[in-house]
């Protein structure tokens, strides 16, 4: 494994490093928990890594509140999310998904931006963020910014909408409009730790004080080439009372979630099994 590294510590340096390497083969390095493995296998020649691990810009490496959004810098690690009280209390889906990433050691390095930009349909934090209807804040090498919903930012396995002179700067999630929430991340793998999802279900449901469902976000991981947002399943829930979802409605909801699953069979599970599991976990979230 051999490559050159351009180390950047400010956003200006980052922009010029990208601008100066548009004709070269470069990659962005942040937490390295996936990149090092990939580079070891790929044996790429003439590669430059733009190292952003030492970038000191709060818009890249902190969690802040701004207006009606919470903004997560792309360099925020899975552990930063797990340790953040607000995330744990108000966005259990995101907390649980971050806690399910690999191991403590990996969570201490792995960044939320890397989890998103790797564009794996089985990425746990990305799946939770799709359910939260997160927006990607993207910076280009001329300093221009654009926003795009995460659900469309992920274009397919290992594909995002980023073009060569762009980088993911941060991710915004809308603040909750209610304090009565039902939110969680369900993951099925072949063992408890260090596991890549066979199927995951993320849900973030907001209710009125009487329990009427007002807003819902549901996404499923590892069952398609992207991470689908199950809008018809979400719409199905609106107006229902969270504490009185009948067995028939649970099945109706699970069927709607399943419409978004176009899984493949691979070494971890067959397509049939993935659908069965997705159906059952979707149904189970309203069984208390």
């Amino acid at each position: 494994m051999d490559f050159d590294v351009i180390n950047v510590t400010t956003t200006d340096e980052l922009c010029s490093a990208i601008a100066g390497n548009l004709n070269n083969n470069f990659r962005i390095g942040a937490g390295y928990t996936d990149l090092i493995l990939e580079l070891k296998q790929a044996r790429v020649q003439d590669l430059t890594i733009i190292n952003i691990a030492q970038l000191e810009d709060p818009s890249f490496n902190s969690i802040i509140e701004k207006g009606d959004h919470i903004i997560l810098g792309a360099l925020v690690t899975a552990s930063d999310l797990v340790d953040n009280k607000k995330i744990k209390e108000e966005y259990p889906v995101l907390y649980e998904s971050a806690l399910s990433v690999a191991s403590t050691q990996i969570r201490n390095s792995a960044t939320v931006g890397g989890n998103i930009c790797n564009a794996s349909p089985a990425a746990d934090m990305s799946a939770a963020l799709v359910a939260l209807q997160a927006i990607c804040n993207i910076l280009d090498s001329d300093g221009r910014e654009r926003n795009e919903p995460l659900v469309s930012f992920i274009k397919g396995v290992r594909k995002t909408s980023l073009v060569k002179n762009e980088i993911l700067k941060s991710i915004s999630i809308p603040k909750n409009s209610s304090s009565h929430i039902k939110s969680g991340f369900e993951k099925v793998g072949t063992r408890k730790s260090m596991e890549i999802s066979i199927v995951s279900l993320s849900y973030h449901i907001q209710c009125s004080s009487e329990g009427t469902i007002e807003k819902a976000g549901v996404s499923c991981g590892a069952v398609a080439t992207t991470i689908p947002f199950a809008s018809s399943a979400c719409n199905f829930l609106i107006g229902k009372n969270i504490d009185a979802i009948s067995e028939i409605e649970r099945i109706g909801f699970a069927k709607k979630v399943l419409e978004y699953a176009i899984p493949i069979s691979d070494i971890r599970a067959s397509a049939w099994y993935r659908k069965e599991v997705l159906f059952n976990i979707s149904k189970s979230i309203f069984e208390s």
Binding site: M1, D2, F3, D4, V5, N7, G29, Y32, T33, I36, L37, I49, N51, A53, Q54, S79, A102, S103, T104, Q105, I106, N108, S109, K192, S193, M194
Partner: protein, 156 residues
């Protein structure tokens, strides 16, 4: 690339190849062989070291990124003149060591986790202790004694 860092309390400045991995810096350049290369893929935790309080896999970390940081390896916990760290004592007491290959990783993970728990004033449950060790594999002990040892760190 030139980097300056602290390891086990000692300040060091070194010129390193940009693609050098931290585990190779520790074992081959600094000759600290207590940090073990197991899978070299982030799965086994044998290579665990602590950087600024956080346990990380040194096999998935670029050496250049320790610039300005403080590393602790197993050699930093005790020496011929200083007593064993509590996590090490408990490991011996509970018979958590067989071949020993996983041990330094287990100890470093346990130390980082217990430092954090103690700083926050919490005593973790057995399940939390177990969860904290999810990134460390052991081929010998069957884990029970290691978890017993990691839990015993919180006894007075």
């Amino acid at each position: 690339m030139k980097i300056a860092f602290k390891i086990n309390g000692k300040s060091i400045t070194k010129e390193v190849r940009p693609s050098l991995l931290l585990i190779d810096l520790i074992r081959d350049v600094l000759k600290l062989k207590g940090t073990k290369p197991g899978c070299l893929e982030g799965e086994c935790g044998a290579c665990t070291v602590i950087i600024d309080g956080y346990a990380i896999n040194s096999c998935l970390y670029l050496a250049i990124n320790v610039n300005g940081k403080e590393i602790t390896t197993i050699e930093g916990l005790s020496g011929t003149k200083s007593p064993l760290h509590k996590t090490q004592e408990k490991m011996i007491e509970h018979g958590g060591v067989q071949c020993g290959f996983c041990t330094s990783g287990m100890i470093m993970t346990t130390k980082a986790f217990s430092d954090k728990c103690i700083a926050e004033g919490i005593t973790p449950t057995r399940d939390e202790v177990k969860k904290s060790l999810e990134g460390n594999l052991c081929r010998c002990t069957g884990y029970v004694k290691i978890i017993d040892a990691a839990e015993a760190v919180y006894e007075n």
